[in-house]
């Protein structure tokens, strides 16, 4: 019993080391794209979304946020979009503290962050083309620019034949491609994806992940919250594991679960 407790303590030590990350020079000398500094988020009902979580994500990184449902993955992403305000700590995007951004300027922050959701969140009364065009119209893009960029982006997503279909005429995978196209069409520096493959079968999921991977290769920083174990293990990217609002692991080239031989895993199992 005492041994287990000691191991447990060792496991809990992990987040503490990762908390120190902001003080160290990050993987990149430049300003990190996204940063959480000892962020605690307590919801109105008293439930805890995040507890003293710190992470630093540099430019061009591809990061998986993993963990069971309710561990704080979505809270993380929503904090980064300033959809929520942290109860304690600081959230920074490109060095800018989000708490300092007045609500009138929030739309301009969001134009630099592409978002992809598990339930796609497409506008139901617009065609595929119009859905993607909307995020350009929002930033005041001209017609010529829209006519040039939207078909290009949709071709990249493999949707050239579906331009004038409405979302409810598409399969789940196709709808997710549209939502990725919408997030990517104005080439945001940061892409957030909340369970992008949560509603899709494994084969379709691979296609979606490939798209996100391709976007990452254009230099866009990507943060994907997922519990799709296969995907994470296949991609071998940085993994940040959350559990009950705490960061319990932050590995540069990780698996969904720590390797079975590690003592921490033994305890959890």
């Amino acid at each position: 019993m005492r041994g287990a407790a000691a191991i447990n303590a060792a496991r809990m030590a992990a987040p503490r080391t990762s908390e120190a990350v902001p003080d160290r020079p990050g993987p990149q000398r430049r300003v990190p794209v996204a940063e959480l500094v000892r962020v605690t988020k307590v919801y109105d009902g008293g439930s805890i979304g995040l507890e003293r979580a710190s992470m630093t994500i540099g430019r061009g990184e591809f990061v998986f946020l993993v963990g069971p449902t309710g561990c704080g993955k979505s809270t993380c992403l929503r904090l980064l979009q300033k959809e929520l305000e942290p109860s304690k700590g600081e959230v920074r995007i490109a060095g800018r503290t989000l708490a300092d951004i007045p609500s009138g300027r929030v739309p301009y922050l969001r134009r630099n962050i592409g978002v992809v959701f598990q339930d796609y969140k497409l506008l139901p009364n617009r065609t595929v083309y119009e859905n993607v065009a909307y995020s350009l119209q929002v930033i005041g893009a001209g017609r010529a620019e829209i006519r040039r960029k939207v078909p290009d982006t949709l071709r990249l997503m493999g949707l050239s034949t579906k331009l004038h279909n409405y979302p409810d005429e598409l399969s789940g995978g196709e709808q997710q491609r549209v939502s990725i196209a919408r997030a990517f069409v104005n080439h945001p520096p940061l892409l957030l994806a909340d369970e992008p493959t949560g509603n899709l079968d494994p084969e379709t999921s691979i296609g979606i992940m490939q798209l996100i991977h391709r976007i990452n290769r254009t230099g866009t920083t990507v943060i994907v919250a997922t519990h799709d174990r296969e995907m994470v293990d296949k991609m071998r990217r940085r993994v940040i594991e959350l559990r009950e609002g705490r960061i319990v692991r932050d590995e540069l080239s990780g698996l969904y679960r720590p390797v079975e031989s590690t003592p921490a895993f033994a305890v959890v199992a």
Partner: protein, 296 residues
């Protein structure tokens, strides 16, 4: 910012959710028609009540012995009294003439029988405010005792006056209350219908916010939709009212003075006010309802 774009967006919104838009339009139409019928009725009733109240007056009867200078002096004094709107002198002859007009025959026979005109000359004093009649009477004849020798009696036809004042006050109060209620109900009804149509699209608004749309970028199309719905409903209501006026009211108004009461609102003004109210209520309703969903 870009009116063309917002207009197209508004039209798209109306096309793609035509059922709630139609419901809102019908609501606007119905309330506008009800108001359009009710407002002139209220005005006619109030106008008639006011006219009746205007007839309330104090009669100052002169004694038979009053001399011309005394009468002139009294007339001037009455005109100078506070709260007096107008003073009309009715000579003995005039009084007889009026009585004859009201009841032809009876007075002439009486006068012939008596051999002389029995009616006294009088001043008819109209108060500025009908409700101040009693005070005016007291001022002219404190405690029922006339102030000047030339006055025989001051009479304000107490019971009659009280009845007129009470009845007209009731009519005015009721119509005013009904108008306020109706206006309130109309605004609430229109705002609620619009609220429902926007509520159905709240998810859409949420997505727009997450894609980085500013509040006004989202709001404009909705406000324009509100303007279109309000304008459409108002226009249809005015057309209906014009039709009703020309087929029913105009032929009748030649025979019924109430319908042609001079102080009801002019129809073009009524139409303009209704249109403006419809457009304003639906546009504001849209903008205000959106506020809730824009806080993401």
């Amino acid at each position: 910012m870009r009116p063309g774009f917002f207009l197209r967006e508004a039209l798209r919104g109306l096309r793609r959710s035509s059922a709630p838009a139609l419901a809102a339009l019908l609501t606007v139409l119905l309330t506008a028609v009800v108001l359009g019928v009710f407002i002139p009725i209220v005005q006619a009733a109030t106008g008639t009540a006011n006219e009746v109240r205007g007839r309330v007056a104090v009669d100052v009867y002169l004694s038979e012995s009053a001399t011309r200078p005394q009468i002139a002096q009294l007339g001037a004094a009455l005109r100078r009294t506070d709260g007096v709107k107008s003073v009309e002198f009715i000579s003995k002859g005039e009084a007889l003439a009026r009585a004859e007009r009201k009841n032809p025959g009876a007075f002439r026979e009486g006068a012939e029988l008596l051999g002389s005109n029995p009616l006294p000359a009088s001043f008819r004093v109209t108060p500025a405010d009908p409700d101040e009649l009693r005070a005016l009477t007291d001022r002219l004849a404190p405690g029922g005792q006339p102030r000047l020798d030339a006055i025989d009696e001051v009479r304000d036809r107490e019971e009659e006056t009280d009845e007129i004042l009470a009845a007209t006050a009731l009519v005015k109060g009721l119509t005013a209350g009904l108008t306020v209620l109706l206006l309130f109900a109309s605004i609430a009804l229109i705002a609620n219908t619009i609220r429902l149509s926007i509520f159905a699209r709240r998810r859409e608004v949420e997505v727009m916010k997450l894609v980085g749309a500013t509040n006004w970028f989202i709001r404009w199309p909705f406000v324009i939709e509100g303007v279109i719905v309000g304008f459409g409903g108002g226009l249809l209501a005015v057309l209906l009212l014009v039709g009703a006026k020309e087929t029913f009211i105009d032929p009748l108004s030649e025979r019924f003075t109430l319908l042609a009461a001079p102080d009801t609102i002019d129809f073009p003004v009524l139409a303009a006010v209704l249109m403006l109210a419809c457009v304003a209520v639906s546009a504001l309703g849209s903008a205000i309802t959106l506020r809730r969903f824009l806080r993401v």
